[in-house]
């Protein structure tokens, strides 16, 4: 039995399949996690997209990845747009990627901005809450992963710059579900165990927005805010900003920079101390020599040559002052006496007794002095006091009238 078999060459079938795929599926959006990432020296990017069940080879040519605003790396969850195709030479099924973004980025960014706005309104970022960060601490804490890049960078800087320091690392996860709680626990534990701690660095090395996410969580922000120990945040790279950065006492662009901020160079410090030493020594020298100058100047004055002259002078001055003083006191006493007599006469003429002597009397009703007939009515009993003696009477008639 013979039958004509339709036979393709390998290249033909690969091309044919490719055409079918490109025509039937065309451009698609695919979401997955990057693995096996390689940025080839040609500029093209080769990687695999995968989920829990499957994987898909991907290539992003240089002309498409040029100017990409993220750095793809293993483990990053991305959303890509491309064409399903076949690499004819190798017969490999793949996706040609033209666009790539971090998946869930839009959602996370929205959450970030909302939390930032809310905490800002609450005043958590206010400058007035920020504690000063010492530049030469004796005890520093670090809350980060014990195996990450951050702790290595921090320790390298500290070893290079300043030796007299104790560093306590609180090991914790810095990405994933539990990281937020672990970081909070780290900040709180250091505060509890080391109230005397000068400063702590809280952070991690670079990563995707999802990796850095724990540092955008509200509980982490609140733990940093409540820390009695000053907190330097050091999350990711220079361009990464997290909520932790806003709420911390000091934001460091990277973990290495954080370590540099809390440790001055030994050499600079030695120089500073020497400079202060010189200032003190020369100042004291100046003070002493200026005093010596004054002593010399003073010793040339006449008084020190003829000390008794000054005693004569003082005696003469005292005599003069004494004479003047005696005259002045006598004069003053005379004036005062005159004034006192004048006042006495005046007071006497104003006394009610003197007035009554001149014929005036005082009328009272129930012990109250009456100055207005308004306060009297017919048949009232009144008392009248004269200069000598008094009389009781009863009102017969009231005549309303003006003042006397």
């Amino acid at each position: 039995m013979s039958c004509t078999k339709k036979t393709y060459k390998v290249s033909e079938i690969n091309s044919f399949s490719r055409q079918i795929l490109e025509r039937e599926i065309g451009s698609v959006w695919v979401e997955g996690e990057i693995s096996n990432f390689k940025h080839h020296s040609s500029g093209h990017m080769y990687f695999t997209l995968k989920d829990e069940k499957a994987s898909l080879d991907a290539v992003m040519y240089r002309k498409f990845n040029y100017g990409l605003d993220l750095e793809p790396e293993r483990g990053m969850k991305v959303l890509v747009r491309g064409t399903i195709s076949i690499y004819v030479r190798g017969g490999r099924y793949q996706i040609l990627v033209w666009e790539m973004e971090e998946s869930g980025k839009g959602e996370l960014e929205k959450k970030f901005l909302e939390l930032k706005e809310r905490l800002k309104k609450e005043g958590l970022f206010e400058q007035s809450h920020k504690k000063p960060v010492p530049s030469v601490p004796s005890l520093a804490g670090v809350v980060t992963s014990p195996t990450g890049a951050a702790i290595r960078d921090i320790l390298n800087v500290i070893k290079r710059r300043f030796a007299g320091i104790k560093v306590v690392l609180f090991p914790c996860r810095v990405q994933g579900e539990t990281a937020g709680d672990e970081i909070v626990n780290g900040i709180e534990t250091l505060n509890r165990l080391y109230p005397e701690m000068d400063v702590m660095i809280v952070g991690r090395g670079g990563g995707s927005i999802e990796d850095l996410w724990p540092f955008n969580e509200e509980k982490v922000a609140r733990a940093i805010f409540s820390s009695k120990i000053p907190v330097v945040s050091a999350v990711g790279h220079e361009v990464d900003f997290t909520i932790s950065d806003f709420v911390s006492d000091l934001r460091a662009p990277t973990p290495s920079a954080a370590a540099e901020m809390i440790t001055k160079e030994r050499k600079t410090l030695f120089q500073k101390i020497d400079r202060l030493d010189k200032i003190m020594k020369s100042s004291v020298k100046n003070t002493i020599s200026s005093l010596q100058g004054r002593i010399r100047a003073v010793s040339k004055i006449e008084v020190f040559k003829y000390p008794l002259r000054i005693v004569d002078y003082f005696q003469q001055h005292i005599d003069y002052v004494w004479d003047n003083l005696a005259t002045a006191v006598r004069h003053k006493v005379e004036i005062s006496r005159h004034q006192a007599e004048g006042l006495y006469l005046k007071i006497e003429s104003l006394s009610p007794e003197k007035t009554m002597q001149r014929g005036f009397s005082v009328t009272t009703k129930n012990g109250k002095i009456i100055t207005d007939v308004k306060n009297l009515k017919e048949d009232d009993r009144i008392e009248t006091r004269f200069y000598k003696g008094q009389a009781s009477s009863q009102i017969k008639k009231i005549k309303k009238g003006e003042k006397v």
Binding site: V136, T147, L155, K166, V167, L169, K272, M280, S283, T287
Partner: protein, 85 residues
């Protein structure tokens, strides 16, 4: 100003340096009576020795907190652990 001796474990380097700066600036104004100047100067020299000593010290301790049942304890941290990607 108190006259108590500087205890290295009580005074931070930062505070000592700050005090030293204050003393140097006070002395350089030259307004103080001689006795006060001398007293400050002596204090300054003491602070200087303290600061230099702290800088000379090579003690450096890096520890990691390890959870031991309910409480934490310090252990020496060996930072040559393998790099995690």
């Amino acid at each position: 100003m108190n006259k108590e001796k500087l205890k290295p474990e009580k005074v931070s380097f930062e505070d000592a340096l700050k005090k030293l700066e204050e003393i140097a600036s006070e002395l350089s104004e030259g307004e103080l009576p001689l006795e006060e100047s001398i007293r400050l100067f002596e204090k300054g020299m003491e602070l200087k020795r303290f600061c230099r000593k702290r800088l000379d010290e090579s003690r450096r301790k890096i520890s990691i907190l390890v959870k031991d049942s309910e409480e934490y304890r310090e252990e020496d941290f060996k930072d040559d652990s393998p790099e995690k990607p």
